[in-house]
Subunit: 344 residues, 2 copies
Amino acid sequence: MRKAPTIRDVAAAAGVSVSVVSRVLNPESGPVAPAKRQEVLRVIDELGYRPRAAARELSAGHALTIGLVVTDLSNPFFARLADRIVWEARSHGVQVVLMTTQEDPHLEADSLDTLLDRSVSGVIATPTGGNIEKWRRLRDLGVNVVFIDRAIEELEDVDVVSIENFDSAQRSTEHLLSLGHTRIGLITGPLTTSTGSARLNGYKAAHQNASLPVDPTLIRDVPFRGDAGGGAVGSLLAMRQPPTALIVANTAQVQSSVRRLVQMGIDIPDELSLIVFDDNPWTELTTPPLSVIRQPLDMLAVHAIELVLGRMHGKLPDGARRIEVKADYLPRNSCAPLILSNAH
Amino acid sequence: MRKAPTIRDVAAAAGVSVSVVSRVLNPESGPVAPAKRQEVLRVIDELGYRPRAAARELSAGHALTIGLVVTDLSNPFFARLADRIVWEARSHGVQVVLMTTQEDPHLEADSLDTLLDRSVSGVIATPTGGNIEKWRRLRDLGVNVVFIDRAIEELEDVDVVSIENFDSAQRSTEHLLSLGHTRIGLITGPLTTSTGSARLNGYKAAHQNASLPVDPTLIRDVPFRGDAGGGAVGSLLAMRQPPTALIVANTAQVQSSVRRLVQMGIDIPDELSLIVFDDNPWTELTTPPLSVIRQPLDMLAVHAIELVLGRMHGKLPDGARRIEVKADYLPRNSCAPLILSNAH
DNA sequence: TACAAAAGTGGAACCGGTTCCACTCCGGAC
DNA sequence: GTCCGGAGTGGAACCGGTTCCACTTTTGTA
């Protein structure tokens, strides 16, 4: 348990001052004679010296660290997102402190405080929708905030990276309409979230373009967590005029929805056509493989990191960016024309 | 972008010295008159003061942070594990810095250096198997290391939390043997990993107890990442005498293995009985639902956190702990007696 | 050859906490 | 009344980096 060498140890061993060592460590900060630089580097290597992050942070006032705040990692969507973000961050020499909110604004508030204590220079988050003042304060304190997947309307001046929610929902709905379905169920997140409302609007727009009325009883805006998706499936199929097609428009709800469909022994696509949001690896392992909206996670992660790092280095113009990346519709075998459905 | 108050601001506003404020912040560190304590707390609240973590770390020499080093979060096993660990850590006021290794010892080495720079007080890791000296050095520098899921044999004095690998493999094998199968394929991780070899040994022990020979051509020890699992499935089923049952003994390989089986149109369980390690949520969504060895993630996470925090607070006796938690066999519908297989 | 500009260097303050130590009170024991 | 011990307090050093500034040595140019 010997203790690690400090910059002063290095300076002494190399016969120079700490300033010189520091300048070797941060080449931009000043000139060093080539010979001394060599010597210092040699000593650093010999002693196995590594600068302590805490000291650097204290002096700099901020850490080369970003906070990642997501709902929970059990959700494969967030897990894969986190995976990419950690990966991208690492390649830029930035560490990631991970916090989960379980969709609870109190836990979210707590997380923000903690991240603030840590002087993180950026935060990538899927906001719960609460804590508006806290988010604003965070940004006012100089922390670069990027929302990913969801936005908070009240915070117009925060960067957002999301998929084309409106568009994807509209296209899925149109696809089902083109197959002859007119009663299309929609399971989506709370309408207070930007994703929930945008996807509902896309669904409505598709109906409008086809001059079809929207039956509000076919729409279920339910909580993200727990078995809300399964419950919604149950109640939709128990209707007197149940839908002949279903869009599960939120990743968090897909698992419980599909589980319920399997439990109920619903025949897909003959009894029900199904499109789900997000292409988890297992969606092609079900019978039949599911048609999905594939969210380009890589793009979400890359843009989010670029925004955060860009702002950290002051390389981005003022004004919030809103980046929407395209989500593809990936047809597999869970959708069928309505005619076939009737024939069944 | 106003700057946050420091401990000296608080001291000035409360009309006391910084020492008093510090003692209010850390009650164990000395006495404070009740009246002054009240006043200081009031000022802290009024100013919204929060101690900077970096300053505390610099002074203390270590951070209230642990590193979590896993292969990658795309693997649901690690994702759920990380979820639990972050959760448990938070409830103890500890933050988690996340790093992924992609099973690459170089990336692992990098991660360890970074964590060292950050003065983390503990690391929970799924080691790649390399970097033995580096792990040892980390521990010698006073960082509490706990390996989870896997061990490194050479590092006898590091705590390990894992499932009963030998036992689970033995029991799955015995179950399949009891169904009449004699040619049981085994897909597992590299034998250089502790899980790989323990599971193979359990498989062998079951054969031995049943006085059956082990056919080494039925065993595939393949890399964790990529499509190695799928490849192994392909080569096993292409044998002249293919197995009638298969155990996929590693979480990371289950997805690619099952995908290949689905692609090949193998009828489970009629053509092939299947047991896979770890109960991902989707394993019950396949046709048929898969019989699994369920790894008690919660227990792994809880034990790992308790070990790390216990050591951090010096509350644990010397000497490495090896904790093995029981993994249940959860029968669903992917295993059938051999007789039926033949009838098919 | 002279002198200004640039390169190179070290000392010391600073970031914001924690902790050691010296010092002042005060009450209780003798 | 004296002495002792503990509660309560503030000053200052310290953790390990970064950075500003003053100073010396080169280098380049007229």
